[in-house]
């Protein structure tokens, strides 16, 4: 067998060597046929981003098939014998994740194929990007046609959906394409153009095909520099993009799940998270989306940091956390937007999530100190509130977040996040060796949590309300079960909250926001992880299914949309929706937020045909996991950790016998417990769950103290 393996390796080397060498020599790889119209599109109007990490602008490929960067449009008009093209059905990335965008438009017999990629601008500019675009016209009919293509660079006639922060007030110059010598150009086309429009006309015989190449910078760029950039073919530029993103994605945790949809969705989410970053000098900061949310929110940035940290992109996550540290105020709290008081807890949580996995960062002392300042600030507030004698005085003061709960009230989510921040502060201080201060924070956390639970129980609510006063939309309260974990997963308040939210959304697995007709991509996604922890695997899977479904053909998810997929002015992709998907899939396989390592909490049936997770960063080091199941047996192999490991059996199965020591079978019969230092487990299986998730008996067990 070893001999056969060597022969296979040698054969592969011989076969692949020419391709590798061709790549090194700059020759494009063979073009792979890709039909964007075959890619699923969840939204009523397909759109995609041409974006790049660190760039301060991005191009949107609009549903009409044009390009817009927040400053100017590239209006693409094509026709065949004066018959104009229609809008594309879908604007798709290759494999629904690789950001090589394709879209097809048709005018009569002529099929117009567009392909575009974004790459960073060459030095000295380090915040720009350049798009390479190819338009190819193919006459699919039996008679000749005249195909015309015009690309016009112009400002939109009316207010656009997003505006670049640095879009100048001055109108664009008359000459916008190359051809004007050293003048900055807004686009490059072979031969240039005298004004705002580059026009091409071809006579296409039956079956004939012609193509044209355009180079489009996000900022006006010296025409000669664009010309130099264009000397490398579009195919080569597209290969550069493929190489870059394959390398970036492969640099993180490797998920082999035998589930292409989930694996591609993870890659797509990582492309969004890695792209939605900007630079401020040496600092990196997370932004909400490449278009209308090019700002920094702690509530979104913390999610991005955590998702990147748990998916093996720890260095990027730490860089972004360092950026978020800039949002600390002199009095101690963290706040990014007025009235959004959840920011302090979120910042501390983001520091902990990124700085402690897989081992404490060298700069942990700085974050421990920042956490201590934030904790002191909130304890000062709590002391004043306690002295006030007000009913909710010990909770955070009222907030007017102008978003989220959309109410002026004392928000439950603010306290849930602050409690999460206290927990994170304890972990950061311990990691920094400041044990006495960690103990002090822990004692106040216990007291704060006691106040929280007492007020929740006194509220008369079965669930967890948005605000202590009772009003508001569900938002921060949805994070209370997880990631804030202020209540045990078995607490009936969590189940009541989930049931209410999921029922309002019609059992779609998502939540609504504002109108009951709406769906929100991520606001209730945390309940998926709560469901995993509560043993409600089917409900967690429904959340995952919804996250997978509500993605564009370019793999990104929006924020709020109707059940018909209309997102209005709220363009996808949203970074927090991407983070929600990464977090849920990762938690379904490797969960390390609690005191034990929990594996295969929500592994789907097909993942059990030898699933593998490599280089998963956890609080106890980097963990590799192998798991597989046959009808009669389940097996796990993982990197041993110094805490107990909980192993969840495959869905629809139960233990057929007691496991061999030192493994212990849980009372529910659905999980095995492995003591610290264990790295291997197996158990005989019988079909059928002992207790159906969500059943009355399961509830009773789940709600045990």
């Amino acid at each position: 067998l070893r001999h056969l393996g060597r022969i296979a390796a040698a054969f592969a080397l011989i076969v692949l060597a020419p391709a590798v060498l061709a790549g090194c020599a700059g020759k494009p790889r063979p073009r792979v046929a890709f039909d964007p119209d075959q890619v699923p599109e969840a939204y009523a109007a397909s759109t995609a981003a041409l974006m790049w990490p660190g760039a301060s602008r991005a191009f949107q490929i609009t549903p009409a098939g044009d390009l817009f960067n927040g400053d100017w449009m590239v209006d693409i008009r094509a026709s065949a014998d004066a018959e104009p093209v229609g809008a594309p059905r879908a604007i798709a990335y290759e494999g629904r994740w690789m950001p090589v965008a394709h879209w097809v438009r048709r005018s009569g017999d002529v099929r117009w194929e567009f392909e575009a990629v974004a790459l960073p601008s060459p030095p000295p500019r380090d915040t720009g990007l350049i798009v390479s675009l190819v338009a190819r016209a193919t006459n699919t009919g039996t008679k000749a046609h005249t195909a015309r293509l015009e690309l016009t660079i112009a400002r939109p006639a009316s207010a656009p959906l997003f505006v670049a922060f640095d879009a100048p007030e001055a109108p664009l110059p008359n000459r916008r394409w190359n051809g004007g010598g050293r003048e900055p150009a807004y686009g490059w086309v072979d031969g240039g153009a005298a004004d705002s429009t580059a026009a091409i006309a071809w006579s296409l015989g039956a079956g004939a095909s012609r193509s044209a190449r355009f180079v489009l910078p996000a900022y006006p760029t010296e025409a000669r520099a664009l010309g130099r950039w264009a000397t490398k073919s579009h195919q080569n530029r597209a290969d550069e993009v493929r190489d870059y993103w394959n390398r970036e994605v492969a640099g993180g945790t490797a998920f082999t799940l035998h589930d292409p949809e989930v694996e591609d969705a993870l890659r797509a989410a990582l492309v969004v998270l890695l792209s939605c970053r900007e630079q401020r000098g040496e600092l990196w900061v997370p932004i909400g989306n490449p278009f209308q949310y090019r700002d920094v929110w702690l509530r979104d940035g913390a999610r991005a940091v955590a998702a990147l940290a748990v998916s093996g992109h720890g260095a990027v996550a730490r860089d972004l956390a360092r950026g978020l540290a800039e949002l600390q105020w002199p009095n101690g709290p963290f706040l990014s937007q007025r009235g959004q008081l959840d920011g302090t807890g979120q910042a501390l949580w983001a520091f902990e999530q990124s700085m402690l996995r897989s081992s404490p960062s060298d700069s942990i002392a700085r974050y421990a100190e920042a956490a201590l300042g934030a904790w002191r600030w909130n304890e000062w507030q709590r002391s004043l509130g306690r002295a006030s004698g007000w009913r909710f005085g010990t909770m955070m003061p009222f907030g007017d977040p102008r978003d989220g709960e959309l109410v002026t009230a004392q928000l439950v989510g603010n306290d849930a996040w602050m409690l999460a921040g206290y927990r994170s502060a304890v972990r950061l201080l311990r990691a920094a060796g400041r044990n006495a201060e960690a103990a002090a924070v822990e004692s106040t956390r216990v007291a704060y949590l006691g106040d929280f639970v007492r007020l929740l129980n006194a509220s008369g609510r079965r669930d967890i309300p948005p605000s202590w006063q009772g009003d508001g939309y569900d938002w921060g309260n949805l994070a209370a079960p997880w990631p804030c974990m202020v209540l045990p997963a078995s607490d009936p308040h969590c189940a009541a909250l989930a049931q209410r939210v999921w029922a309002e959304a019609g059992g779609t697995g998502l939540g609504t926001y504002g109108s009951s007709d709406s769906l929100h991509a991520y606001v209730a996604a945390d309940l998926g992880t709560w469901a995993l922890l509560a043993g409600r695997r089917a409900e967690a899977d429904r959340v995952l299914e919804a996250l997978l479904h509500w993605r564009s053909a370019s793999g990104g998810a929006g924020e709020i949309f109707t059940r018909n997929g209309a997102y209005g002015t709220n363009l996808p992709p949203h970074a927090t929706a991407a983070a929600a998907l990464v977090s849920l899939v990762r938690n379904a396989l490797v969960f390390d937020d609690g005191d034990s390592l929990q594996l295969t909490l929500g592994a789907r049936e097909r993942w059990w045909s030898h699933g593998q997770v490599l280089r998963a960063p956890t609080r106890w080091g980097s963990v590799d996991l192998d798991f597989d199941a046959t009808p009669g047996e389940a097996r796990w192999k993982w990197t041993p950790v110094p805490v107990w490991t909980t192993l969840t059996l495959p869905p629809g199965s139960r233990a057929a016998s007691r496991p061999a020591p030192p493994l212990v079978l849980s009372e529910s019969g659905e999980t095995l417990l492995a003591p610290p230092g264990t790295g291997h487990a197996e158990i005989a299986l019988a079909r059928g769950t002992a207790l159906a998730p969500g059943s009355a008996t399961s509830e009773a067990i789940a709600s045990r103290p």
């Binding site: 009095n331 706040l335 006030s388 004698g389």
Partner: protein, 212 residues
């Protein structure tokens, strides 16, 4: 809670309880100590300026005048370089320069430019929070000058308004109470805001402080 009990709560916070009492009195005493500590801290910072000179008359240099002209057109962001230059160039530093810079820094964080289309003038929260940190530092510098009660009260009120707008309510209330100690005209504002903190869903939304 009835209107009467709200008034009683307001009264408690406005006038710290004296002497020993029950748990309520002790709570009030702790609260009063907390607010007094805020006051003391501020006062210490403000009065610790070693070379404090009597308030100088405004010296509106060209930069200062240019800044004011820009502010009249609501161009706060554009006014900042002028103000910074005015401060760095002045021989006779005075409170108004620092207060003006602080206030305009704060205002600029909310500025929206209209062309080519409406968009916030300051790029992101990273820049806005940096500006607010600078604004707070400038407020503290302004407080280092020897001030009469009117100016002191005004400074506290302005700082409270900044804190209220950003959502730091306890800081805002503390600063309003400090303003009230220097000028009774701020008492109603402090009381209204305290009522709002107590029952944010019942009290009528107070006016959003305008800066400037």
């Amino acid at each position: 809670m009835s209107r009467d009990s709200r008034l009683r709560t307001k009264d408690r916070l406005a006038r710290p309880a004296r002497g020993a009492g029950g748990p309520r009195a002790r709570r009030l005493a702790v609260l009063a100590c907390g607010l007094a500590a805020v006051l003391a801290l501020w006062w210490q910072v403000w009065r610790s300026h070693p070379g404090a000179a009597p308030p100088a008359p405004p010296l509106p240099g060209e930069d200062f005048k240019a800044a004011l002209a820009l502010v009249n057109g609501h161009h706060y962001l554009a006014s900042l370089p002028h103000l910074r230059r005015a401060i760095s160039a002045t021989q006779d530093d005075f409170m108004e320069l620092h207060l003006t810079l602080a206030v305009h820094l704060h205002s600029a964080t909310f500025e929206v430019r209209q062309r080519p289309w409406p968009v916030r003038s300051v790029r992101s929260s990273i820049e806005r929070i940096r500006m607010m940190r600078e604004a707070i530092a400038e407020m503290e510098r302004a407080g280092n000058f020897p001030l009469d009660s009117i100016h002191t009260g005004y400074l506290y009120e302005r700082y409270g308004a900044m804190m209220q707008i950003w959502g730091f309510n306890w800081e805002a209330l503390g600063s309003y109470r400090n303003a009230q100690r220097w000028s009774a005209e701020y008492a109603m504002r402090a009381d209204d805001f305290m009522n709002r903190m107590h029952e944010p869903d019942r009290s009528a939304p107070g006016p959003v402080p305008s800066i400037p």
